[in-house]
Symmetry: C2
Subunit: 197 residues, 2 copies
């Protein structure tokens, strides 16, 4: 026996997830009327199609800034999506603003790890290797990889822990935004100015 799915439930779910009408209805049926479970189902579907979306062109989006009180730190960011409709969506705007605050607070150097210069990475690897001298060889590679992961999660925005919800990474929140909007979203570039540095 499946629970009856009312139009109100469907609309509420649409409001919370931004997903399409039919997707919400199907998810609610599958979740037997439990909206929390329906959100999980929708997220899984969204996340599953995120990889495909990552190939679609993103030419719209938002440029947003944040100036920390007193004007000592400032951030400028460009986040792209596929349509101006999504760019004007409140959820998207909040996501972009959160990224500004994140960058102001955590000072990342790059958007993602593919932007880390080869020389910097080699240097980090060298330091990590020097620190594990004397450890059993079997453990060395694992320890070094772990240290590099920590390096990435310091300097790369998408690998950082999301300040607002520390259990998630910025990449997780980006994937959620892609799932919610149904559009490919790309953090294209950012700069962070700190007074006198």
């Amino acid at each position: 026996m499946s629970a009856p799915i009312s139009a109100q439930m469907v609309n509420e779910l649409r409001g919370r997830t931004g997903a399409g009408l039919m997707d919400c209805k199907k998810a609610l049926v599958e979740a037997n009327g439990n909206s929390e479970e329906a959100i999980t189902i929708l997220r899984k579907k969204g996340a599953a199609s995120a990889a495909k979306k990552a190939e679609r062109t993103t030419k719209e989006g938002l440029i947003e800034s944040y100036i920390h009180v007193g004007g000592k730190v400032g951030v400028l960011i460009e986040v792209n999506c596929e349509t101006d409709f999504v760019a004007r969506n409140d959820g998207f705007k909040t996501f972009v603003r959160d990224l500004c605050l994140q960058i102001a607070a955590t000072s990342p150097l790059y958007v993602s790890r593919d932007q880390v210069p080869e020389a910097d990475l080699a240097k980090e690897r060298e330091i990590a290797l020097a620190q594990v001298v004397g450890k059993p060889p079997a453990a060395v590679q694992k320890i070094v990889e772990g240290k590099l992961e920590r390096f990435y999660s310091t300097v790369c925005l998408v690998d950082q822990s999301f300040v607002k919800v520390p259990e998630k990474t910025v990449k997780d929140v980006l994937t959620e935004a892609i799932a919610k909007t149904g559009e490919n979203i790309q953090i294209r570039r950012f700069v962070r100015f700190q007074l006198g540095s």
Copy 2:
């Protein structure tokens, strides 16, 4: 016979120029109580000492941003001065904000001409020379220099015509700000993001 200089006149002049108490009083005496003339006198004095100030260190200042309506263009700028007192001054804030608007509107590439890459300059010179083929040799250098000046006034912020008061250059307005505040002021850096470009 000199006109009497009231404390109110002195205070008003201080408010308009940001200059010191004694400087304002002296300027009013010299101008025979005419405040417009007193401002000119103060500006001349300020401008005269601007060259010396340009060597003093600037570690304070403001980071400011401007996002054009709709979030399609954004600017982030750092302007330095010597003290936090001046950084919090309304005149300084307005100057920094005006620079943001200027950059959003005119898309300069560099702060000043010393930042133009040698190769870009060589290319501009080559183009200019190609355009004057056949002109009398005596005129060639002058024409080429004129074309390079126009190039600088397009790509260099301080050489641009100031959007708010087109008869002045940004450098003129910067010199005025130095005179008004009595501090060395430097436009340290800026970035301009345009959506998808």
